[in-house]
């Protein structure tokens, strides 16, 4: 059952990367590279599923397994909520050795009941993990039974860690929504301007940089899947008229299936970068108008986009004197790198290189064209090599994720987090301005001059300067 699902998910016809592959490559699937023992890094499928679903803020997210899966990581993500905080609590069956010997199904049922009685959530998501999968706990059956007896949706999320990567887990999370959640509640207020946003988790509150733009156009977000969402919003997502699909690799299957099942067309878009934001807004407006929304919406969208772009560029320009000529190295899989590159180049920064690890071939071409002579694209740089580059001053700032944070800091090079754990929101027009503002703050911090001062003594500790009082 799970195996079938995994195969299907890893051969997604809607995925551009997959489309570019040969038949043999396709058959192998996209997550099937095989992990190299002793040289692997990355989260498991459970991790991915949790990332995709946990931002449903009013639900209980219960992890069925021994402690490690939840105990080491709960409340460590920056998915923001405008109200409920229940999703931020850690819930786990914390299985003991005895539980494992006897099977964990009974305990799981009791845990579900305890959570239901104590917190009265609108729904409980139950996550399968490696050990409980290995001992054969039938999480789906327990959830079905609990749902019936307790009278609330209890949703099994079958993405045990060892099934594959974080990315696979994202997709399996989407499948759980398709199988058990979306379409289970009929909204009373469906309107012609309702949309879904797929693959936005409201990290650092980025959804709140997008929502005001949509508000001004009179577009309502019926469901954000799943950033800052409530369970019933997701459950009634099937009544949206169109969708924006962000973070393409993770949510493409969900988007495609929602189109097939409920005829919700989607645009693949991004809210990182000025041009991207405009394209995405125009794209979704066009879909709405195609489906019968007031055509006037198109004109209003054009006006909004023009105004916002003008404003954003004007604000970005003010940073140019402080940033022009400075060299940046981009190392990220998440944020679409070329859209950041274009903004940096616009204010006169030099981008010496950008990673294209997780980009589609089209993205890669775009990045190459943008970088021109001075920059290069690459897949991966080993830490030691990156350390050397930074130490040698080949870049003035590294924009990357947490994994390479200390490569930059230990080489005393400015660093800015542009991945998942970031604390600043970089989406939409305001987000791009914020990104550049942060680059300015980090890069021009006087602390760099101080921390780069060499020791005032030699290798043996003898002072390098003669006493000034003689």
């Amino acid at each position: 059952m799970l195996k079938q699902k995994v195969q299907e998910l890893m051969n997604e016809p809607g995925c551009a990367t997959n489309q570019a592959k040969s038949a043999a490559e396709k058959k192998r699937g996209c997550g099937a590279k095989g992990l190299l023992p002793g040289a692997a890094a990355g989260g498991c499928a459970y991790d991915g599923a949790k990332i995709a679903l946990q931002p449903i803020t009013d639900a209980v997210h219960l992890v069925h397994g021994p402690l490690a899966c939840e105990g080491n990581s709960w409340d460590s993500r920056n998915a923001a909520s405008s109200g409920c905080t229940l999703y931020r609590r850690g819930f786990t069956t914390d299985l003991s050795e005895l539980d494992i010997i006897h099977g964990g199904e009974r305990k799981l049922y009791q845990a579900i009941r305890a959570a239901a009685e104590r917190f009265w959530p609108p729904a409980i998501f139950v996550y399968q993990t490696c050990v409980t999968a290995l001992i054969g706990d039938d999480v789906e059956a327990v959830c079905r039974e609990a749902s019936k007896r307790l009278g609330l949706p209890v949703i099994p999320v079958v993405a045990p860690g060892f099934a594959g990567s974080k990315n696979l887990g994202n997709r399996l999370g989407g499948e759980a929504l398709l199988d058990h959640v979306i379409g289970t509640v009929e909204p009373e207020d469906a309107g012609p301007n309702d949309i879904n946003i797929l693959g936005e988790y409201n990290l650092a509150g980025e959804l709140w940089q997008i929502r005001p733009l949509l508000d001004r156009l009179g577009i309502r977000v019926r469901a954000c899947i799943t950033g800052d969402s409530r369970y019933v919003e997701v459950a009634s997502a099937h009544r949206a008229r169109a969708a924006i699909m962000l973070c393409s690799q993770a949510m493409v299957t969900l988007a495609r299936k929602m189109r097939e099942r409920w005829e919700i067309p989607y645009v693949e878009g991004s809210f990182y970068g000025i041009q991207d934001t405009s394209d995405t807004l125009r794209g979704v407006v066009r879909l709405l108008v195609d489906r019968g929304a007031d055509p006037d919406l198109l004109t209003r969208a054009d006006a909004l986009v023009a105004e916002e772009e003008r404003r954003a560029w004007a604000r970005l320009e003010s940073f140019a004197p402080r940033l022009a000529g400075r060299k940046a190295l981009l190392y990220t899989g998440g944020v679409k790198s070329w859209s950041v590159v274009s903004a940096l180049k616009e204010i006169g920064m030099e981008v010496i290189g950008t990673s294209v690890r997780k980009s589609t071939s089209e993205d890669k071409e775009r990045a190459k064209a943008l970088l021109g002579e001075e920059g290069s694209t690459f897949d991966a740089i080993p830490n030691a090599e990156m350390y050397r580059m930074l130490k040698a001053g080949e870049a003035d700032i590294l924009l990357s994720g947490g994994r390479t944070q200390f490569v930059a800091l230990k080489s005393r090079t400015p660093w800015l987090d542009i991945n998942q754990e970031r604390h600043h929101a970089y989406a939409g027009y305001d987000g791009m301005v914020e990104l550049v503002r942060q680059i300015d703050l980090v890069l021009n911090n006087p602390v760099w001059a101080a921390v780069r001062r060499p020791d005032p003594w030699d290798a043996d500790g003898r002072p390098l300067e003669a006493p000034s009082w003689l």
Partner: protein, 449 residues
């Protein structure tokens, strides 16, 4: 005297426990040139890695045997072998700490047996010391994993000849000591003219220093060569009850006598440390510490007003709970709520009515039953609880990811204890009183009436 309450419950809400393999990995960070390796699926390693990075703000070497569904069923020996070979080729470590996880233990792998076979048939691995430790996630918590890992180091790392060396002492610090504590401890021991062999020594690798190049193993920490000289010491000092086991194994292997200090925060335990060091070294207690002792006593005299009668809620691993709980109660505060991760028998002596083995939700309930408290002492996971209750949170233990410097705070010794008393007194002063006293209550009623 406390009643230890350990009720089985199906649902853990806001867990306090940290997994045992993470504790084990942390211990291996205290060996030089080491790379810990989880034998399990990759996600466990990723979570532990993120947690360690967030706490220490350092690059953390940690690898995985990357078990998947199929290898889990077929058995993981090939994965262990491949991982050891890959790590050796890429990172060239001196030690690899091989830690089992719930997944491989549930399947019932014979990791040690497999390892013997692997080492026997791969000459490439001859130059690396591989230390296997059994640390399933379903058994115990961070302290458990730490102590099992140290025990495994003592069992598996080679010991040199037993040439007695009077000027040396073994120190086995528990996981509740920060790199800052260990640095302080080292200075104290050295001031007695003794050379400490600290196992494991986090102050080398995780003290936040700048290396001169990039390495993918630990940099700093105790070298294998020094570990091999432990048999020569006249004494092993273990700090924390969870280090008694490893210390006893060391005694059994080498004959070195053991002194277990329950903690090194507080006047009485530091006195015992000083006396032990003076006896081992045959030297008087250095003047500096005589002076620090009187400074600490003065701080206790000044600080008692801030502590007296204040109500503290405390959560942490057994030895951390013990250290903090004893200190605040010795200063006159009352521990009104205490939650820990394991039913450690020595906690029967803990200065509270009850110690609950449970999670932060249990702590929350205890606070309610106690009618509130003034200050919460726990790790960063208690932030939500503190916010909901409007309580001040004094952060200790692991993980602390929202305050700089806690991972390095030095509270050991007379000077460390003094500083901790000052900091806690400040926190208590800021906290105000959250207890609706009977008097105030009556007062309010009188006004209303």
């Amino acid at each position: 005297m406390a009643l230890i309450v350990s009720l089985p419950k199906p649902l853990s809400v806001s867990p306090l426990k940290i997994s045992a393999p993470l504790g084990g990995a942390l211990a291996f960070m205290g060996l030089d040139g080491c790379l810990p390796l989880f034998h399990g699926a990759q996600g466990c390693t990723a979570f532990a890695l993120v947690a360690l990075v967030r706490h220490f703000r350092e690059a953390i070497p940690l690898q995985t045997t990357a078990m998947d569904e199929i290898t889990t069923i077929l058995g993981g020996m090939d994965n262990v072998e491949q991982a050891l070979l890959n790590i050796t080729r890429r990172a060239n470590p001196k030690v690899i700490g091989l830690l089992s996880t719930a997944l491989t233990e549930t399947r019932g792998e014979d990791m040690e047996g497999d390892l013997r076979v692997i080492l026997g048939r791969n000459s490439e691995l001859a130059g690396v010391a591989v230390v296997p430790a059994t640390t399933p996630d379903y058994d115990g918590s961070l302290e458990t994993g730490w102590s099992k890992a140290v025990e495994a180091m003592i069992r598996w790392l080679p010991q040199g000849p037993q040439v007695p060396q009077a000027e040396q002492v073994n120190i086995l610090p528990g996981s509740h000591l920060t790199p800052g504590d260990i640095e302080e401890l080292r200075a104290i021991v050295e001031d007695f003219g003794l050379e400490p062999v600290i196992l494991p020594d986090l102050s080398g690798a995780l003290d936040g220093h700048l290396p001169s190049g990039w390495v993918s193993t630990t940099l700093g920490g105790t070298s294998l060569e020094r570990v091999g000289r432990m048999a020569r010491s006249p004494l092993t000092i273990a700090i924390g009850e969870h280090m008694r086991g490893p210390a006893e194994v060391l005694r059994w292997r080498t004959g070195v006598p053991v002194l277990v200090l329950d903690r090194i925060i507080g006047l009485d335990p530091v006195d015992r440390l000083m006396v032990a060091l003076a006896n081992v070294s045959g030297r008087p207690v250095p003047l500096r510490y005589q002076r620090q002792r009187s400074q600490l006593i003065d701080a206790m005299l000044d600080g008692q007003f801030a502590f007296a009668g204040r109500r503290i809620a405390l959560a942490g691993e057994p030895d951390l709970l013990w250290s903090m709980g004893r200190l605040v109660s010795e200063m006159g505060a009352r521990v009104v709520a205490a939650t820990t991760t394991a039913a450690a028998p020595f906690l029967a002596e803990f200065p509270a009515e009850r110690v609950i083995v449970g999670d932060l939700d249990d702590l929350d309930e205890q606070i309610t039953e106690a009618g509130g408290c003034d200050l919460l002492i726990a790790n960063s996971n208690a932030t939500q609880l503190a916010a909901r209750r409007g309580l001040a949170l004094f952060r200790v233990g692991f993980p602390v990811f929202d305050r700089l410097g806690v991972a390095q705070r030095a509270s050991a010794g007379y000077r460390g204890t003094r500083d901790l008393i000052f900091t806690l007194a400040g926190a208590l002063a800021d906290a105000g009183s959250h207890l609706v006293t009977e008097h105030r209550h009556e007062h309010a009623q009188a006004t209303a009436g």
